[in-house]
């Protein structure tokens, strides 16, 4: 007994009654994910093993979302290499061409991931699915190739840190602000190798897209996984989506945690993380008036329909500052379509924004919005490392969609109430 939700899921998947933190296990994997950047290396390694078929064509998922639509000839070649593999293996969930969405928004939306699963992905933000009550973590390409072969992965059972968020959020404060604040408090390696369990009355009422945003950024504190116990909000979200049978786990009340961190949300302001680490979070009031050249709204962190709705609310009837490029990336085709139907796309275009296809694009300095020397960008993405969005002397500031949209209008980092 005395098990956390993470321990319970891992125990179930390794055929044990319970597991202890620090114990090495060989866990069965429900979903094994790759993208157009990590899959080519994984395919190379998988071929090296010499096994003709992946362990289960229904459980191997590939999304070509990073450098697509193909940004250059080499990327086109990589995508072609992946496509040939996906077709040869007859993968059931291969997202290419018009079905591409940003993987960590697409998989929950399509009901491929759900509560109680073990999800392994060759992408660090695979930790996103913990918001649904799954154990979900990022690995590299060779680990992924091994999972494609065996359907299993060796894992060290992590210790857990319990984060307890209390209080009512102020207007313009979202899950993104909670997680930026948290990373600022514990640092970029504050949860290294550990599980981050998000709890408290604030989380109990937090909508699913914002929970996904929080779990998405667990890796930015070094976390192995981020996780939220499934509840009514989870069940409502997965109801018309999840194709599997949800297994709902909760942490025992006397479960062991390496640390408990309490955070009072009631006085928290929207946060902005300054260059060049996500841990440099400050209330927006402290960084106001920083001039910006570009705004990016999208990514696996904040490309949900609800994020676009927030941005549209701020931008409606207003104009983007003439010196600023506002780039918007609906995360999936379904979100894009809804954004058209609900009039958000019209609001964005009339405001002077540029609406892009679903892709990771500029978030990792891929394409569609690269910065040159001396340029500054405020982005709803998850990383502001040196050179992340382009030149080594460019800067990225991280924020929620409301702050990003307000900043686009003013041409400088701004509080949403100011517009």
């Amino acid at each position: 007994m005395r098990q956390t939700i993470t321990q319970k899921i891992l125990a179930k998947h390794s055929g044990k009654k319970e597991v202890q933190a620090g114990e090495f296990i060989d866990a069965n994997v429900d979903i094994a994910l790759g993208n157009d950047i990590t899959s080519p290396l994984a395919i190379k390694q998988f071929r090296e093993i010499g096994q003709p078929k992946v362990f289960d064509r229904n459980k191997v998922v590939i999304v070509q979302d990073h450098f697509t639509p193909n940004k250059d000839i080499k990327s086109a070649e990589q995508c072609k290499f992946v496509r040939e593999f996906a077709h040869e293996q007859k993968l059931k969930n291969f997202f290419d061409c018009g079905s591409v969405g940003i993987e960590h928004v697409l998989l929950p939306e399509q009901g491929i991931v759900g509560p109680g699963q073990v999800v392994i992905g060759a992408d660090s933000h695979t930790c996103t699915y913990g918001a649904l009550g799954a154990f979900s973590t990022g690995v590299g390409s060779t680990d992924l190739a091994a999972v494609w072969s065996r359907g299993k992965i060796w894992l060290k059972v992590p210790e857990s840190i319990k984060f307890v968020y209390k209080g009512r959020r102020k207007k313009w404060v979202y899950g993104k602000d909670l997680i930026l604040y948290t990373i600022g408090k514990i640092g970029v390696d504050g949860a290294n190798y550990k599980s981050m369990e998000f709890t408290g009355d604030t989380i109990e009422t937090l909508p699913m897209p914002e929970r996904l945003t929080m779990a998405n950024m667990a890796i930015e504190a070094g976390g192995k996984n981020g996780i939220v116990e499934p509840d009514g909000i989870t069940l409502k979200y997965i109801k018309s989506r999840f194709r599997g049978k949800p297994e709902l786990y909760r942490s025992d009340t006397d479960a062991l945690y390496s640390d408990v961190v309490e955070i009072d949300v009631s006085r928290m302001d929207p946060q902005v993380s300054l260059p060049h680490l996500p841990e440099n979070s400050k209330p927006v009031s402290e960084v106001k008036n920083t001039h910006i050249d570009q705004v990016v709204i999208g990514s696996c962190t904040n490309g949900h329909l609800e994020d676009l709705e927030i941005a549209a609310r701020v931008l409606k009837g207003r104009k983007v500052h003439p010196y600023v490029r506002l780039l918007i990336f609906p995360a999936t085709p379904a979100i894009y379509l809804q954004a058209v139907k609900k009039g958000y796309v019209e609001i964005f275009i009339k405001a002077g924004g540029i609406v892009n296809p679903p892709t990771c694009g500029p978030c990792l300095g891929g394409h569609l919005g690269i910065l040159t020397k001396g340029e500054k960008c405020i982005a709803t993405t998850n990383r502001n490392f040196v050179g992340r969005m382009g030149d080594l002397e460019s800067e990225v500031y991280l924020s929620n969609p409301a702050v990003a949209a307000a900043s686009a209008i003013k041409g400088k980092i701004s509080y949403p109430e100011e517009v």
Partner: protein, 164 residues
Amino acid sequence: MKFKGKAIKYRNNVNTDEIIPAKFLNTRDDSELGRHCMEGLDLGFAEKVRKGDIVVAGRNFGCGSSREHAPVSIKAAGISCVIAGSFARIFFRNAINIGLPIIESEKAAKSICDGDEIEVDLQNGSIKNITKNEDYNFFAFPDFLQKIIDSGGLIPFLKHSKNA
């Protein structure tokens, strides 16, 4: 396994975007990745690195993106091993999986300076700083990890276990 080389020293929180910027992720060619190693952090790296050199860094080395291209580029650049105060977990796995030796030692990470001549003995768990005449010890890996390392990475290990 024993290695000897010059230390190339870096700070805390070196991330994988710095080790290999995303603009080079459109290839799976090891030697090309090796040519661009550390380009997001140290443009002089390619000039100064010599085969066998040892990267020494502070805490949380390899944080951020899961890109395995990062340890692949370090290995392809000729680095014999990486010593750090601590490693981000995905980088840790990736390095072991591709057969890049890594060592966690806070003391070594703090004491070793850029340019120091270093000798590492993986079996004995010892690091010798020839320049400073200091010794540092580190803990051995768990058995099954050591087996992966001894096989030269996860894929050779899996192939070996399948044939065994």
